[in-house]
Symmetry: C2
Subunit: 410 residues, 2 copies
């Protein structure tokens, strides 16, 4: 029993359960995703602004007291988190926004925010004595799982849909994972991984099942708050696929609010592509989610059947935030904007939050006088094809000055 | 006049010159690459171990007092440096080495060590009031120049050889650079950039010309020393192309030694591919460099005519180090090793240092009881094709458990 955890609470039926190795609610089955309930009064005794001010750990492991893990030395793990939060003056001027920050989570060890979840999952697997960890993923969760596991000597079995981009698959292979490239979509991939995990008894890193993953992803919110000296922006924008990341963002701010470390939870803007926006559609029509098409080039958020709907919907509603969808062309435009204005190269799903901020401004959801943080969730190097689609390819030039002058490049 | 700089010294003729905007020696011409001579007695007054222990800056900008720059607020720049130094226990056991550290410089903002040079170059261009910065590059210098410049609102003109990998070119385009893809090799690319820079008066970021770049790259050595609590390893291994990076590694340790911050300069292992090893050949035959073929998949170090031979040769000789060449197959093997054993995904030139350590151990140059740091100079995401070549592609599997069991993947 961990002293800083009170137990589980089911996000569907509200049942309270003891904290153990279970991953979902026994009453609700697979859809009964659990919340981990922390004992903030216990945590407060040793964790807070003052303790953090003295802590030189420059990674997410500085927030270990807020993770569902036993205390340990985290220095052997990959250095996840503590990514830069850039003041984006040129970009905010371009968008007509008072203040914009860009959180570049593509600078994590395997180049995406998913390292935050995988780091915690690997730590948990090590804590529990597993030798293999498995997951299904559109790509980033997979490569982060494989990389974080490799660093700690764990084996990995990874299920990816056939359409996963080359860069993400290359990472998996280099990290020595056993990779199952599934002939089918994300749903089929997830189902196969579920069956195999049940059969073989591997540690389950599936984001829609394992409640600790949200508690890793929440560290991005903890960092944003600390990097802004505990005065987060009015809005925090994040792209949404499975729903686990936005759920984590909310949990992080909620934790800080419950601990008295921030005075308010920012409004959370959930952003999807119009080509795959089950959350946006459900929110607009005030109904539960229904399976959606997966027609977006932002592969990391092309999730037609999100596995974490409750945490995601709650993130927006409890924070008084908003849902918005942007077409793929605006995602590609956001790639160019973040790159050319701020030197931040995000993958399509990475810059989708920024595209959402732009559109939310146009629609009056975000006011120009408000302050905003946009989270870039992954590096553009993960998906070079779409980067070239966004930015074009360079012109060839003969190696002489006269040719250069005539080329029209300058 | 900067108080912490005494002047220039030509690496060829030894002439001492005042510190100004010049980039090469007036007596020796283009090959007369300059050293910047620092006033260590002046620097000592305010910079040292104690000052650094109090400094929370988690980037290379913590070493600004050792850079050829006027003091300024560096927080608007990209967050370059302070990359992780991992204790690589699984890898050292595999290699039969007492202690091995991996410095993952692929976790820089544009995913390579070159950000250290580009950051300083962009800061200098801003300091001097330029609005455009230009360079030629096999890829990483280019993308780092473009990214760091974009962040500060500078325009960039970049010359790349036609063979530059897609990932690196994609970065350039996204960062809004004017890209000249030159029909020819690196030498032809360099010559065209030189002519154009002369004609148009842009700030020159060419690593073989501009002496401040070495002073940016040296921060990787400063970090290694500080991260090892001012007791660097017996050896530091680094891959070598143009010669600027290894020159910087030596300069960094030399600075620390001159300042009394470390007790000895580590032996530096310069590693090249056997497919392009002008330094290794010259050192073995005790003769000056001659142009070499560029037959290696490690594109970042495929430099047949290195522009910084003197600083590179000095780094090895003055540190009592060694030169070594490794075949491409051993570079690909090192990619797999670093990935599977430590969760570090380096590009071919990135892991070449590690391949060199392995070979140097086999050849008795490095003893198994010695301590070693291998610098990984760039992310494997820069060059996915070679990663897939190193690790293979995954097997496809029908979405059912029976098919998985039969697939042989597990």
């Amino acid at each position: 029993m961990m002293k800083h955890i009170l137990g589980y609470r089911c996000t569907l039926c509200g049942a309270e359960l003891p904290y153990d190795e279970r991953m979902t609610c026994p009453h609700c089955g697979e859809k009964g995703i659990l919340d981990i309930v922390f004992d903030y009064n216990y945590i407060k005794k040793s964790f807070g602004r003052a303790a953090l001010a003295k802590d030189r750990t420059n990674s997410m492991w500085r927030y270990a007291p807020l993770m569902p893990l036993e205390p340990r030395d985290f220095s052997p793990f990959l250095r996840v988190g503590w990514t830069p939060l850039y003041t984006a003056n040129r970009l905010s001027a371009e968008l007509g926004l008072k203040t914009l920050y860009l959180k570049d989570d593509g600078l994590n060890p395997t180049a995406s925010l998913k390292d935050r979840a995988s780091g915690v999952a690997v730590a948990k697997a090590v804590e529990l004595g597993y030798d293999t960890i498995a997951c299904s993923s559109t790509g980033n969760a997979a490569s982060s799982c494989a990389g974080n596991a490799a660093r700690m000597g764990l084996k990995t079995v990874i299920f990816v849909p056939q359409r996963a981009p080359e860069g993400k698959v290359a990472q998996l292979m280099i990290f020595g994972a056993k990779v199952v490239s599934v002939k089918g979509d994300y749903k089929a991939t997830f189902e196969l991984s579920k069956a195999a995990i049940e059969k073989y008894g591997w540690y389950n890193r599936n984001a829609g099942i394992n409640p600790i993953l949200t508690e890793g992803k929440k560290t991005v919110a903890l960092e944003i708050a600390e990097q802004l000296n505990w005065e987060p922006t009015d809005w925090v924008a994040v792209s949404v696929g499975d729903g686990c990341t936005i759920g984590g963002v909310y949990n992080g701010f909620h934790d800080l609010y419950a601990l008295g470390m921030i005075e308010r939870v920012p409004k959370i803007l959930g952003v999807q592509s119009t080509g795959c926006c089950p959350f946006v559609d459900a929110a607009r029509e005030h109904r539960p989610l229904v399976p959606a098409a997966e027609n977006t080039l932002a592969d990391s958020i092309a999730v037609g059947v999100p596995r974490n709907p409750v945490k995601a919907m709650r993130a927006v509603s409890a924070s008084n935030g908003a849902w918005i969808a942007v077409p793929d062309e605006e995602i590609l435009a956001a790639m160019r904007l973040a790159g050319a204005k701020e030197g931040v190269f995000g993958e399509p799903a990475g810059v989708t939050a920024l595209a959402g901020v732009r559109r939310a401004l146009q629609e009056g959801i975000i006011k120009s006088g408000e302050t905003v943080t946009a989270i870039s969730t992954g590096s553009g190097l993960k998906d070079v094809k779409n980067a070239l689609r966004a930015a074009g390819t360079p012109k060839l030039c003969e190696p002489d000055l006269a040719a250069l002058d005539k080329s029209g490049i300058l």
